[in-house]
Subunit: 418 residues, 2 copies
């Protein structure tokens, strides 16, 4: 067995003018990786025939599998299908199954079927149709010179559905490859340089088929070990040994050994202890509640959040005293303490977290600079507070506040606050 | 003048295994576009010397400007700097300004400066340093054969800061190019096929230097007109004429003529009318509040949100009756009406929106299927309700609910509910 390589080509002017962020490629790469298929490169090109053909000609040489997304819609800027048909020397013909499905979709939605929609049922006669249950544009599978070219719609949920149900199983049958296995360590509180220094000898001891990567994000650093090989049990054992070695060395900053987001790590802690959580948010505007409810099953521990963006809500709903707001301001230790007490009581929860800050660009004062965020965590018997300073733009400051709030609470719950 | 083309090369294994979503490229593309520089392609490669050199060799032929991001950190998987130094035949030497800044950053954070950090102050002697105020890795600007190669750190806020303050102004001086101008029309309620059919004649009447693109997303379709030329006033006038023509034809589905997100469009409506907004969220978990507070200055109209994820919060905080929950369930017209009334009163606002649904994967019943979301909007004199059905996964259903909630409210406020 050897390494099977794939290239992802995404098609669409919206990717080149920055109107759309490409989330498809990351998702496809994850799924291929799980199947032991490496992604060698990703390329994004515009909606022009020359650019697409140029990319096909070049990437063709670099991989056994080419996955294209985009350009399959019903409008004039969608040119992928006729182009591929011509590229592989085929002819467009109507696929009866696709046609029937398409008509049914329009009937269900009470919409007339237009001529341009009917054209979506035409497929090149030299491809295998990858049926699209979720939409009107079918996926296509071409084979030539032992290589596979897969064309998928760019709409994320349609693409994902075809990949999961049709394309990935078909790729698994078609290619056998080395396994690629990842193990992660999720840390918080130290920078990547510090970590690199601390684990230098372990990093140097890694065999050539195990690679270590540092992924810093919002004050967290994820360490990722990637192993490649054919003997999966042995490789897995070896990776887990190294993972354990790293975790022991970094014990005081390790948050999790899984590649889970902070909301999942915090949620698992709460679930394990059978405790409930409530929030009192100001500057995060509901973002913390959003994170907590991204995890399926969050209703087991997450009760709710009082987003008291305006001071009147802090007073009238959470019961923060007018004198506290007047004397110390909304962004102060005193206010977040009263907010967290209000949330604990009003939401009747075991733990609460409150957040109040100035994220920018406006709203800073001499006393409270932009980027200042006060937080309080509380159980029924204890309150702890912390002042944070974030130095970035509004969006990033908000994300930092949300993620660091979850970390603060996780440490509180697990007795890890210094 | 002619079109200046750029290629973006992003470096990092995390992009190829799907651990990171590339948001840098979209941001860079937008900024370059504003300056009339077209992005011809985007390529993502891994942290290996061969892959980076291969990409440089190839992309070199395709554009006048190459922008690289990533691989400039202090750890062993960061190989871009020595590689570029060698590629352009230079020698690494310490830059005193970078060194001083670096030491100061560590002092400010109370951290020791490690040997590997000091190495970040070394730069190739054949490049111009693009000073990085926000971090320790300097950007680099190389010139060769009339082409420019810019290397930037992969950390988004560091990259953005260098681009905005150093690289973009320098590119503006260096290259003169045709202007690229965009005009948008933001619609809701009809699919792209329907729209394409309806505006076919206008699309056919566009001159070759004006392109129309369809960008469907979450039940919305954005139409983007892109014009290229040298005579900016004439081109702008022509684009705006076509934009107006399209808007007139699509009058009943147009939401905005700006490329603003729904939260900004709704926020602008509220600000204009001098009205306040409060939310009662259940399944969206705070996501709606998050959207509303993404807009700087939202505190002028957004008061807060009661995230009543658990039924106890719906009862105890919003005042939903126990009998209503028992008889009709949390996901029902009756419940969202009581939720919106509770929010209106408790938050003392002019308008309120309530949302309760089942986003999946679990939690569906025979009566209330996964994807069902009830919403109510209210002013002090009127309440309107609507049942939505979303067919996707938890994350996408949540996004659809949030965006369609904002649209529902916008229509209500502007007297556009049918």
């Amino acid at each position: 067995m050897s390494n099977i390589q794939a290239v992802i080509i995404t098609i669409g002017d919206e990717l080149l003018i920055g109107q759309t962020i490409d989330t498809n490629s990351a998702w496809i790469a994850q799924r291929l990786n799980e199947q032991g298929i490496e992604v060698a490169r990703r390329v994004a090109v515009g909606d022009t025939k020359a650019a697409i053909i140029d990319a096909l000609d070049e990437e063709w040489k670099k991989a056994s599998i080419i996955i294209l997304t985009g350009g399959l819609g019903p409008t004039s800027d969608d040119i992928t299908k006729p182009l591929l048909c011509e590229y592989f020397g085929g002819k467009l013909t109507v696929d009866e199954k696709v046609l029937a499905h398409l008509k049914e979709m329009f009937i269900r939605r009470n919409r007339p079927v237009l001529e341009r929609n009917l054209k979506q049922a035409e497929v090149p006669d030299n491809c295998t149709v990858l049926f699209n249950e979720m939409g009107t544009a079918p996926g296509m599978w071409f084979e030539k010179n032992d290589k596979v070219i897969i064309s998928l719609p760019g709409v994320p949920f349609e693409m994902k559905h075809i990949m999961e149900h049709v394309a990935l199983p078909k790729l698994k049958d078609r290619f056998k490859s080395d396994a690629i296995i990842h193990r992660n360590i999720f840390t918080a509180g130290e920078g990547e340089s510090f970590i690199a220094e601390k684990i230098q000898d372990i990093e140097l001891s890694l065999p050539p088929y195990i690679k270590l990567a540092y992924l810093p994000d919002s004050g967290f650093v994820k360490l990722r070990l990637t192993g490649k090989g054919t003997d999966i049990p042995t490789l897995t054992a070896e990776l887990e040994l190294k993972q354990q070695e790293l975790a022991t060395r970094l014990a005081n900053i390790v948050i999790s050994m899984e590649d889970y987001p902070m909301e999942r790590i915090l949620g698992d802690s709460l679930k394990e202890k059978g405790k409930t959580l409530g929030l009192a948010e100001s500057c995060t505007g509901g973002y913390l509640g959003h994170f907590m409810t991204q995890v399926p099953g969050a209703s087991a521990y997450f009760m709710g959040s009082i987003v008291s963006y305006d001071n009147a809500i802090k007073q009238n709903v959470l019961g923060v005293k007018a004198t506290t707001l007047a004397q110390y301001g909304a962004v102060s230790e005193e206010t977040v303490i009263e907010m967290v007490q209000g949330a604990l009581k009003l939401l009747n929860v075991d733990y609460a977290l409150s957040v109040s800050g100035v994220l920018g660009p406006q709203g800073g004062t001499d006393r409270v600079k932009v980027g200042t965020v006060w937080m309080a965590v509380a159980s029924k018997t204890e309150i702890r507070t912390k002042e944070f300073r974030f130095f970035y733009d509004r969006e990033r400051n908000k994300e930092m506040a949300a993620k660091n709030g979850m970390l603060f609470l996780w440490r509180f719950i697990n007795g890890k606050l210094s």
